[in-house]
Symmetry: C2
Subunit: 296 residues, 2 copies
Amino acid sequence: MDFTTKLNAFVSEVETALDQLVPAYAGTQPGPVRIHEAMRYSVQAGGKRLRPVLTLSAAALFRPHAPALPAAVAIECVHTYSLVHDDLPCMDNDDLRRGRPTAHRQFDEATALLAGDGLLTHAFLILSTHYGADPLLATALVRELADAAGSARLIGGQMQDLLAEKKTDATAAELDFIHLNKTAAMLEASLVMGGRIGGADDSTLAHLRAAGRHLGLAFQIVDDVLDATADSKTLGKTAGKDARSGKTTYASLHGIDAARRMAKEQTDAALSAFNALPGDTAFLLWLAESMLSRAK
Amino acid sequence: MDFTTKLNAFVSEVETALDQLVPAYAGTQPGPVRIHEAMRYSVQAGGKRLRPVLTLSAAALFRPHAPALPAAVAIECVHTYSLVHDDLPCMDNDDLRRGRPTAHRQFDEATALLAGDGLLTHAFLILSTHYGADPLLATALVRELADAAGSARLIGGQMQDLLAEKKTDATAAELDFIHLNKTAAMLEASLVMGGRIGGADDSTLAHLRAAGRHLGLAFQIVDDVLDATADSKTLGKTAGKDARSGKTTYASLHGIDAARRMAKEQTDAALSAFNALPGDTAFLLWLAESMLSRAK
């Protein structure tokens, strides 16, 4: 199987599992119909499914004794919740995501708010239910996800990102903080949770965590470079938004060429971390490289 | 110790533990300062602390092998998050809570949204960290809380409550659904989590769950009656809001006298469930009765 086929197979598994594990209310009336419609609408918006694919491919390095799909779905639920809340009028106020109306445009603000809350909460229900037969693993997965998605990391990064948008003089340290937490934290958790399901030892988990960290930074720097250099048609979204809003990015702070070098360095560091892992890492190496060379 | 002194002692333990377990960012800059200020502002708003007190007093029926305070704090974090999001402009649009500006008035909407997200996520970090030495218990607590706070219960109840506010002809079944989930679910979880920490068997857990269910309905019916009969000064908040907005309540649907009888029946059912528990239930019985006879 070539890597693209393998990627598509992982994504297809994730889509099926999302459909199975994100609830659709089918009980007696009166019951919570609309909230579940909004939750499913949001998770079914497609997207790269990068985080769950990282979980599945990290677990596949080992001979896992538990399935990795429920954890992959839990991570995608958390990622989706963060996008739904991020799109709200009081945050980025986006009308479209992946060509479809955002949740608050399709439903309304209150429904989108609650659907995000529902997806976040559901992630922890999935972990505690589907890994209940191995409570040590379940507890470790809950802790990993709650930490990555918590106020010191994902939410803290989003908060600082909002504050940084209001000024044009964010420092390199502020920018690093934002992306290490807003982006890298969940990529770390995706890989580490896959490793935990595989039964990885502490030193292997540390390599997975390092890989996620570098991959997250590389991902974000590439995003900044693309926003500054690509056209909207190629990107599939409005290009040049950062420059017009005066937002500090890796590209504006360090210049395009330096930012490209930094993305390459972070990708190389991720590749080194992957190379230190046991098992067949070829797919993960390919995935990291294709993230660097992506055109959108 | 009389019951009021005991209640105050529990509340005081909860306040101290909230201060210890809800993070205050004190790391190096740049770091997530504002998000943690908003989270602490919201949990430190006071209030009855009913849910954590139920957890502590349920656990105290037994000789628990794990402390109940972290779980009590986790439950209060979830309750607080639900209030913060409920107060937002797209939901109830409240400016004041317990005499202080609501989180989005004190900070801004985006910060309040993220602070709510942070508190919800932090609850699961607390459970998975503080009960990590007993992963079977930790997993059961996470499952109980995620279920009670999830889209089929707390969030589903809030969604249906919002939808019901837009019409004046909500049915008795719709009203029951809303309160069983918006209010009772978290009271059930508070008692059941206390019981689990105490090592309660399945039949005892079922009594605790039934008590929480009846207590939740009684609590909500009393709220509706007070809104229709008390004056704003006694209530400490605007009275008569339901009638003016044409909202369907137990009082409007069944009449004040019938609603009072229903509150009494639900309280009696809660007392019966508490009476079926082992240990010294006197405090829980007193608490249930004082909830029924409260004047605000």
